[in-house]
């Protein structure tokens, strides 16, 4: 299994009571709560953690994009990927991903990713997402055309990377007389493309058809297993057998000497992530009109209406996160790998308000106690779960 250190770069000094009072850490949570002196230090703290991940032997580091939120300080992840391109010497650098529909010129993403691919001499992984619903409030982009814009931007970027320029592109949302980006990607034909998703069946089908690596965001392991089986089924329909390397599980791992100590230490920071940083004030903020079809919207609405605040005990039980002693974490991770059939773990080692010393201790424990046991381990047995 491959391990990536996935950082959300939360503004971990955020006043959690103020978030609770505002009802959300997104869009309407005033940036007057952001202290640039603390923020500047946090960027360096987090970049140092990414560089530590490289030295500790993680296979890669991951960044992502969110706007107008204390949940993550990476509206422009390419800035941080650029900062890491020369200091992360060995590991891959993944942006999971840039939200294509949010830009009015997708060629800027083709350019940015190609630059990073050159700068890292081919250690770059290109993630494409639509952004979560809140992004459409923050960025003033119409959610009704989000799916159309994503599809069109994706096609344009791939063509820009693979067809000799200049060529003419006239779409519904994007129009260019000259498509001819310099530089071209370093990797041939282009960097690997990874598709993170909350589990939309149309996204899973599309990713499988394109043979893109599918990354499942924060979900109970049983759900993850079902979505990964869906991907394998779609791959078979498309005429090939998917490899476990095409499936990545985005999780959170916290390791301490004993289960009890790990749970106690992780609890406030993990619960802050789930119940404060991730909180949206209304379903409408998370799911603006047209962001997804009416059926999916109703499903998510029903789930959200019944959602209770998450506790670490629930998250561990459902296999959303793995927290415990080295032995417990090894057992759970092996069990989950065999259940869901993935071969990449996108692991948040820092989460919520977790401070630097605890994050570094966690990263070191994972590198020493977990990674070596999984280096050559593939999913074993037949995946036990059938897709719906």
């Amino acid at each position: 299994m491959k391990f990536f250190n996935f950082h959300l770069m939360p503004y971990r000094h955020a006043d959690l009571d103020a978030i609770e009072k505002n009802g959300s850490a997104w869009v309407t949570f005033s940036n007057s709560h952001y202290d640039p002196k603390k923020g500047g230090d946090l960027y360096h703290e987090y970049l140092d953690q990414m560089e530590l991940a490289d030295r500790l032997g993680f296979d890669g580091v991951c960044l992502n994009e969110h706007h107008q939120t204390a949940y993550g300080m990476m509206p422009i992840p390419g800035v941080l990927a650029g900062a890491l391109a020369r200091s992360v010497k060995r590991a891959k650098i993944a942006i999971l991903g840039r939200a294509l529909p949010l830009v009015n010129n997708p060629l800027t993403i083709a350019e940015e990713y190609a630059m990073l691919d050159n700068l890292t001499r081919g250690r770059f992984i290109a993630g494409f997402v639509r952004g979560i619903g809140a992004e459409y409030h923050a960025m003033g982009i119409n959610p009704v055309v989000s799916q159309e814009r994503y599809a069109e931007a994706h096609d344009l970027i791939i063509r820009a990377w693979t067809e000799p320029g200049p060529f003419v592109y006239k779409g519904k949302h994007y129009h260019f007389n000259y498509v001819n980006p310099w530089p071209r990607p370093y990797q041939d034909p282009h960097p690997p493309i990874w598709i993170p998703s909350q589990g939309s069946s149309s996204t899973i089908r599309w990713a499988a058809q394109k043979r893109y690596t599918y990354a499942q965001t924060l979900s109970p392991i049983a759900t993850v297993a079902r979505f990964f089986q869906m991907y394998r089924d779609e791959a078979e329909k498309a005429g090939y057998t998917a490899s476990p390397d095409q499936l990545a599980w985005s999780n959170t791992i916290y390791v301490a000497d004993t289960d009890e100590k790990a749970m106690r230490e992780a609890k406030p920071h993990l619960e802050a992530l789930l119940n404060r940083f991730l909180k949206k004030s209304s379903v409408e903020m998370l799911l603006p009109p047209g962001y997804t079809n009416i059926e999916s919207m109703k499903r998510v609405r029903a789930a959200k209406v019944n959602a209770k605040p998450s506790t670490i005990e629930d998250l561990v039980k459902q296999g959303v996160v793995i927290v415990g002693s080295p032995n417990t974490v090894r057992e759970k991770l092996a069990e989950y790998q065999d259940l869901a059939g993935f071969n990449t773990s996108l692991t948040k080692t820092q989460f919520g308000s977790l401070p630097d010393d605890m994050t570094r201790a966690n990263m070191t424990a994972i590198a020493e106690e977990i990674l070596p046991h999984f280096r050559d381990r593939l999913p074993q047995g037949r995946p036990a779960v059938a897709a719906e």
Partner: protein, 263 residues
């Protein structure tokens, strides 16, 4: 109510719902972002004097969502086709909110089939430095609360409208509304430049307490549409035809009567 019919009609290949009642000169009413809904008391009252025609816009409620529906201009041209197909002349055109915006977009293009224009708490233009309630970031219940000055009337509407069986149509309407009004939020940056083209008598009816398009919008429209008359209804929010139906019917009828005398 008995005095109206509901049917589906096809306008240049697009199937839409049409409610129609009363007789007299035609009065075409264009609904707002919540869809055409039911035949309401103000429609019934107007039907005593007019042939009241209430289509449901493409993309909304029971109407079809055609592939060509991308923006407010598409709706404006659709209703020009609609007037032509039904061969309506000397039409009193009225619209609320998003429907008022559509009516204004139609009127800057062509008024030859219009006798008058009534804009009720209309979207369509932007007035700087006037805070506006954002109906898209809140729940359906909070959205309805934002419409009303009198919150007891909001309670009634919430009880009537926000039910599990209406979830699909509420979402369909919100998608259609977002399609035309998400960005820029509820206006067309070019509309204000051409409102001087409206050459039919124009009435602006506004709720004094509208939080979505506050009464400054009535003043702005009045400056932009030559000879237009503005009426501000006290203690009334964004949807006067529901919150103060009698006042709306009285003002519209009086305006049209006075127009006839002047002519």
């Amino acid at each position: 109510m008995a005095n109206h019919s509901t049917s589906m009609i096809s306008v240049r290949g697009c199937n839409i719902k049409l409610m129609r009642g009363g007789s007299g000169t035609p009065l075409l009413f264009l609904h707002g972002a919540s869809g055409a809904g039911a035949w309401l008391p103000f429609m019934e009252a107007l039907a005593a004097r007019f042939d009241v025609i209430v289509p449901e816009h493409p993309g909304f409620g029971d109407s079809e969502s055609p592939d060509w529906f991308d923006n407010i201009h598409d709706l404006a041209y659709f209703y020009l086709d609609f007037l032509q197909q039904l061969d309506l002349e000397r039409v009193h055109l009225a619209g609320i909110s998003l429907g008022g915006w559509t009516a204004a977009e139609l009127a800057i293009r062509d008024t030859k089939r219009l006798a008058s224009l009534t804009l009720i708490d209309a979207a369509g233009i932007h007035v700087p430095d006037v805070p506006q309630f954002d109906p898209f970031i809140v729940s359906e219940e909070q959205r309805i609360r934002g419409f009303f000055h009198d919150q007891s009337k909001a309670d009634e509407m919430i009880a009537r409208v926000v039910r599990p069986e209406t979830e699909d149509v509420i979402m369909k309407n919100r998608i259609a509304a977002a399609r035309v009004a998400w960005q820029p939020r509820g206006y067309d940056p070019d509309l204000h430049k051409w409102l001087h083209r409206i050459d039919v008598p124009t009435l602006l009816i506004w709720g004094a307490n509208d939080r979505l398009f506050p009464k400054e919008y009535a003043s702005a429209y009045q400056k932009l549409i030559p000879g237009s008359k503005a009426v501000i209804i006290p203690e009334c929010g964004h949807i006067p035809q529901v919150e103060k139906p009698d006042a709306v019917v009285t003002e519209m009828t009086a305006f049209i009567d006075q127009m006839k005398i002047a002519a």
